[in-house]
Amino acid sequence: MKHLRSIDELGHDGVVRLLELTTHMVEINSRPVPKVPALRGRTVASLFFEDSTRTRLSFETAAKRLSADTMTFSVSTSSVNKGESLRDTVETITDMGVDAFVVRHKSTGIPWQISDWTDACVVNAGDGWHQHPTQALVDCFTVRQALGRDRFDGLTLTIVGDIKHSRVARSNISAFSMLGANVVLVAPPTLLPPDVSHWPVEVSHRLDEVLHRTDILYMLRLQSERMSQGHVPNLREYAEAFGLDARRVGMLPSGAVLMHPGPMNRGVEMLIDPSTLTNSLIHQQVSNGVSVRMAVLFDLLAGESSASHLSQEAS
């Protein structure tokens, strides 16, 4: 693997390989000193052109636990504000010697453009509404861990909310389908992309009709700016139709789990405190973030020897 830019590029085998590798990383993270020298001498540069808390911090933590050096690029203090082009920025950092770029940008396709301008590996940490592959890996790993199964055949993943503007949804639709899950999208038509007929999904506009057959309920964040664009009339109406409250939690089959990529909009899509629910995986999603990103960086940067190499170092 040279880059991690989308789940489709990664493919089924790549997804499985990274999920297996994550298991090793979870073990490392459980040690008293969760640090290995696997990527000593490697440099990982974070290029975050968009705000992020958990993704940026989990990538940086992951790099440090593998002993890589990190370089953080912050748009507000960089030459981008002096009109430097993205290409010049990438080439400048490449010249300093980096092995991987971790990139988040509000525009679709930026990781592909960057990989034309550098020899370093490119990891997509979210591009526009397009892809967020490490979040999908985190979510698949979290479900695997919680349900104790490698394949998701027979499971139904229901993704609720603003699918149209969600890179998390796009990556998860691919990843969960690859592992065998049925995917149901629930949203008003205004929050769905224009034509999903080629996606391996079922579409519903009524949450109450699909809850009873949902095994994994995935709530998406609704950004308040969607109101001004006419996607939904107001938050109250959205919450009424698509928000998760106690009544709807009660409609889920026993054993169903709840997920959310964060940050949550309490009172909008989340009308109940998820920490009161025994079947919420939201905290595991965050804690697995570091392990998954360690697996990704290790897979990209450690070379051929891969997992066996890791076991040696870990022992």
Binding site: S85, L86, S107, T108, I110, Q113, P194
Partner: protein, 434 residues
């Protein structure tokens, strides 16, 4: 045969052993040109300079209704001289210069400047179009009568369409009185805010804001009905959707004074190109579906579409290196138009000359000197092309100042060999002469 440098000199130039193709069909005759006009057409002609046209077709020079020459204002992308050279290499003897310059072509001073720069370059006729509204702002009419008196025959706010219905109605009424044509860039912008590509399955998967077909079709419909109401002559720029073609077909059936153009890229490239994330494929209107492409080709075949127009839109490298949503739309077209058209259009050469020369010349109001059948006495604006030669598009061989061609590395069949503007060779054996 003489060497290229000698041909430009004054004297009697004979195009030897070619086949004339124009509205009358094909004729294997030599063409003699002298003092800027066609002097003689016949067999085994002699002259001071003989130019080989064996295996080639000799046609009236191409006329592009839609070229962004970027001067004044964005000379980093193109100048009138470099754009003219690109045009000459593409077989053009006249280019209609789009008015979205800086300052825009909404005053006689700017119109005169553009025309004079064209004359200075001397490679073809640069025909300035004028803005419909002041500053292309869509708020008040530009001085259409003044501009018409300065020779402008085609008016457009290209780059954007006139959104306000009342203003467009007034523009049409006023234009009818002046006998000029209004050319519309059809895009209802409230439906295309932030749009990057066609609204389709690809845009769904790529998570890019879509540019729906209906944003074009609504304005096509509106302007057809306004033309019906006002009697104004309306030309539709770069139509891109199947339904637009249908609307124009019906309007023509009703006898309305409507004309329409399509671009080589909308006839040849589909929306899935954007999956490469290469900003060279971002264009406005966007590349559409295969179904749209088929409908556009059918529209050309049955005469619904009057003209092939390039929408040549040069951009400097650094602008096209922005993200897909930030990069400006547009691609080069002048030097590849013929090869692309020959590859994708199922029409004979007589029809091709009609849509690349005769009809665009009529729409631009320059039929007295361009798009004329090759007969004695007409201005010697002539292209000589070989429809069978294959060539691979290499950005470095382009005469344009920019490099944003979507056809890089593709092999096209059909190439311009010589171009004559007012009887002077601007291109010989594929090389620009100045």
């Amino acid at each position: 045969m003489t060497r290229p440098a000698e041909v430009s000199a004054v004297g009697r130039v004979v195009l030897k052993d070619g086949t004339i193709v124009d509205s009358r069909g094909e004729q294997r005759l030599d063409v003699a040109m002298e003092n800027g006009v066609v002097k003689e057409v016949g067999v085994a002609l002699r002259g001071d300079r003989m130019v080989d046209a064996r295996g080639c077709f000799v046609a009236p020079g191409f006329v592009d209704l839609h070229a962004h020459l970027r001067e004044p204002g964005k000379e980093e992308a193109e100048t009138i001289e470099t754009g003219s050279r690109a045009g000459a290499k593409g077989g053009y003897t006249a280019l209609v210069a789009m008015p979205n310059t800086d300052p825009p072509q909404d005053s006689v001073a700017v119109i005169d400047f553009v025309r004079e720069q064209g004359k200075r370059a001397g490679l073809l006729e640069v025909v300035p179009s004028g803005c419909i509204t002041l500053g292309r702002q869509g708020e008040a009419l530009a001085p259409l009568a003044e501009l018409a008196a300065a020779g402008v025959r085609l008016f457009t706010d290209d780059g954007s369409g006139v959104q306000n219905e009342l203003l467009m109605r007034r523009a049409m009424e006023y234009a009818r009185g002046l006998g000029v044509t209004l050319a519309q860039h059809c895009e209802v912008t409230s439906l295309t805010k932030g749009a990057v590509m066609n609204e389709c399955q690809c845009c769904t998967s790529l998570g890019l804001p879509g540019w729906p077909s209906i944003a074009e079709e609504l304005m096509v419909f509106r302007d057809i009905e306004l033309a019906r109401l006002t009697g104004a002559r309306v030309h539709f720029l770069h139509l891109s959707t199947a339904r637009s073609v249908e609307l124009v077909r019906a309007a023509k059936r009703d006898g309305l004074p409507i004309t329409a153009e399509v671009t080589p890229h909308h006839l040849s490239l589909d929306d899935t190109r954007l999956t490469s994330f290469d900003t060279v494929f971002k264009v406005n209107p966007p590349l559409r579906s295969l179904g749209d492409i088929a409908a556009l080709r059918a529209g050309v075949r049955d005469g619904t579409i009057d003209a092939l127009a390039t929408d040549h839109a040069p951009h400097p490298r650094r602008d096209k290196e922005l993200s897909l949503d930030q990069a400006p739309p547009g691609m080069l077209g002048l030097e590849t138009a013929l090869g692309v058209a020959l590859g994708v259009l199922d029409v004979d050469l007589v029809h091709l000359v009609r849509i690349m020369s005769t009809q665009p010349a009529a729409i631009a109001g320059i039929s007295d000197r361009h798009g004329r059948d090759i007969e004695v006495g007409v201005p010697a604006n002539v292209v000589v092309f070989d429809p069978d030669v294959s060539w691979t598009v290499s950005p470095d061989s382009l005469a344009s100042k920019s490099r944003n061609t979507p056809y890089v590395g593709m092999t096209l069949r059909g190439k311009v060999r010589h171009t004559f503007f007012d009887g002077v060779a601007t291109v010989l054996d594929g090389d620009a002469q100045r």
